[in-house]
């Protein structure tokens, strides 16, 4: 490493680099550079898409198998969970969301928490001391990325499962409003999960804590409450269950009739969106107040 060379550079004419005011598009560009230059974010994004397509293929194959096996078709038709989701081709190609949501949640939380764990946040806020544009830019980057990746994943899933679902007599019907709503809902749901998780990451600031919380919210609690509601008739348990962020939000992906124990698709999504907005507001307020 040479220090002599820089010393001689000082004698040259002073360079005057162009430095422009900070604007939201510039902060957005900065956040996009940060997002795409980390291997972990790139890999998590790729894995999310692969999981979506993989589950679509698996479910389509199962449905195809079920058409040849009457007992299996019977069993599926009587499963209450499957009834609520709706037994359509759309159900098959969106199925991966329940696993993709964990990858999306972790990815979105890490966009903020990795800055705190590495100290990067101090460089970030020294360059953009107002802070809220940074939060906004991170939100745009993660939400747009999720929308694009999930849309592409669903398109790929649609194409690769097309012959299988056709053979099973369950092709995705893009003229059916409910199925279109479910497909778009899958994109919307995961994008909202990303925004929700970004807010949780901003509030908690620690990677491990944020990931633990999100896994609990989107994975552990729904399992616990599905058991509790199945085992007892307690009204409070039913209400807690139907108002859980994932249980409420994922109603938008279903194509079946709404059971009494769950919310209508758009109502459910509105509940998740409400939580998300509240968390984002809290994140914005604390981000401005706390020391970086």
């Amino acid at each position: 490493m040479s220090a002599a060379a820089p010393a001689t550079r000082h004698d040259g004419p002073p360079s005057t680099p162009t430095v422009r005011p900070v604007t939201f598009p510039r902060v957005l560009r900065s956040e996009w550079i940060k997002f795409r230059t980390l291997r972990s974010t790139v890999w998590t994004t790729v894995i999310t898409a692969v999981v979506m397509v993989g589950f679509a293929l698996m479910m389509a194959s199962l449905l195809r198998l079920a058409t040849d096996t009457p007992e299996m078709a019977e069993g599926m038709a009587q499963d209450p969970g499957m009834q609520a989701a709706g037994m359509t081709g759309t159900f098959a190609i969106t199925l991966g969301y329940s696993f993709a949501q964990l990858a999306v949640a972790v990815l979105a939380a890490l966009v903020v928490t990795n800055e705190y764990s590495t100290g990067m946040v101090r460089s970030t806020f020294a360059a953009e001391p107002r802070r809220l544009p940074t939060l906004g830019a991170k939100l745009v980057v993660i939400v747009v990325t999720v929308v694009v990746v999930i849309t592409v994943a669903l398109a790929v899933a649609y194409l690769v499962t097309l012959p299988i679902l056709d053979a099973a007599g369950m092709s995705v019907d893009l003229s059916d409003a409910e199925q279109v709503r479910a497909l778009l809902g899958c994109v919307l749901y995961l994008a909202t999960v990303a925004a929700f998780s970004l807010a949780v990451g901003t509030l908690m600031r620690h990677s491990a804590g944020a990931i633990f919380t999100l896994v609990a919210i989107f994975f552990v609690l729904p399992i616990i409450f599905s058991i509790v509601t199945a085992a007892s008739d307690a009204v409070w348990a039913e209400w807690v269950n139907k108002l859980l962020p994932s249980v409420a939000g994922e109603r938008i992906i279903s194509t079946g009739p709404t059971p009494d124990t769950l919310l209508e698709p758009w109502t459910g999504y509105a509940v998740l969106a409400g939580y998300t907005v509240a968390l984002l507001v809290a994140a914005a307020v604390t981000l401005r107040r706390r020391d970086a």
Partner: protein
């Protein structure tokens, strides 16, 4: 230009910075000197808006940092080596920060070149040594060609060549009329680099003066004098207002009079002198004397170290060393 007024920062029950006011002027290198834990980093973090002051205000070039439209053009800050994600390369890190201010890639390459990082610019920062991380931090600080530079312990982890480079860079930038505010817990470093010094201890400003004045004034000057007529000389010096103590080896140590006055007093009294030595105090001694009460993390035997290594001049700081010992036993 940095102006702090009544700046205070309290963390839960600890007062890190206590009602601090100072001005850092352009065109000179201002050293920010203090023991570890004195509040230097906290003060610098408040300047760039990373920490919110509990009370008081601080402005940079006339405005609070966050109100500037292009903050990186106002202040370049090296606050901590490796405020960087280890998974990105040095160039990617700089490009991400440059993007916020629409700074061209050519400038990114320029600061990489300037800080001697060209060979490693494409490597992930996680593998960087402390010195390389420090150079990257300085590259970030220079990115926006700022009017004010804040460098928190810039020479930490640098090799001797790097230390020299930082010193020259700081002086060069100040020479261009920029404000350079550089912290260190090493008084020798500040003596070599800075023109002006602000000394902080336990969150309070202990001194704010030109470096030369700190060396000259903060610690009393001592003159060492030896004479066969020890007693007569001592009496004569006391009459002139000097304070005289006998040293271990039979010489006298005089404070309150300079060497010329001691010589003239001796001549007037017809006293023969065998030795007349002005003992210049170093910045280090001045600093020790200033911060003796305010050192946050005392080594148990600090007073001993000062007493033996300081030699005759060290003894002139006797009362201070005593205070240190007391503080150390607390």
């Amino acid at each position: 230009m940095i102006e702090a007024r009544g700046l205070t920062k309290r963390y839960k029950d600890k007062l890190a910075v206590d009602d601090v006011s100072f001005v850092v002027r352009p065109g000179v290198v201002t050293g920010f000197l203090g023991p570890n834990g004195a509040g230097k980093s906290t003060t610098m973090r408040m300047i760039v808006g990373l920490d919110r002051p509990t009370a008081g205000t601080v402005t940079v070039n006339g405005q609070s940092y966050a109100r500037h439209r292009a903050p990186l053009a106002e202040v370049g800050a090296l606050l901590e080596a490796k405020a960087v994600h280890p998974g990105r390369s040095a160039r990617q890190h700089l490009q991400a920060l440059a993007a916020t201010h629409g700074i061209a890639t050519s400038r990114v390459d320029e600061v990489i070149d300037l800080t001697g990082l060209t060979a490693v610019a494409g490597k992930r920062v996680g593998g960087f040594s402390l010195g390389m991380g420090q150079r990257l931090g300085i590259a970030v600080a220079l990115l926006g060609d700022p009017r004010t530079l804040i460098l928190d312990e810039p020479v930490n982890g640098l090799d001797p060549e790097g230390v020299l480079w930082v010193r020259n860079l700081a002086k060069h930038l100040a020479g261009q009329g920029r404000t350079v505010f550089l912290s260190s817990h090493l008084m020798s470093e500040v003596a070599l680099t800075a023109d002006h010094v602000i000394v902080i201890g336990k969150g309070r400003i202990l001194a704010d003066m030109p470096v030369t004045e700190l060396v000259d004034g903060a610690s009393r000057r001592t003159v060492r004098v030896r004479s066969p007529q020890q007693g007569d000389l001592a009496d004569a010096l006391r009459r002139e207002g000097g304070e005289v103590t006998a040293a271990d080896d039979g010489a006298l140590e005089v404070t309150g009079l300079d060497a010329a006055q001691v010589g003239e007093t001796a001549a007037a009294g017809g006293v023969v002198l065998h030795e007349l030595t002005p003992l210049a105090s170093t910045l280090e001694e001045a600093y020790m004397a200033l911060t003796a009460d305010s050192v946050e993390y005392h080594a148990g035997d600090l007073a001993d170290v000062v007493g033996s290594a300081g030699g005759p001049a060290g003894r002139s700081a006797g009362p201070d060393a005593g205070t240190q010992a007391e503080a150390g036993t607390r």
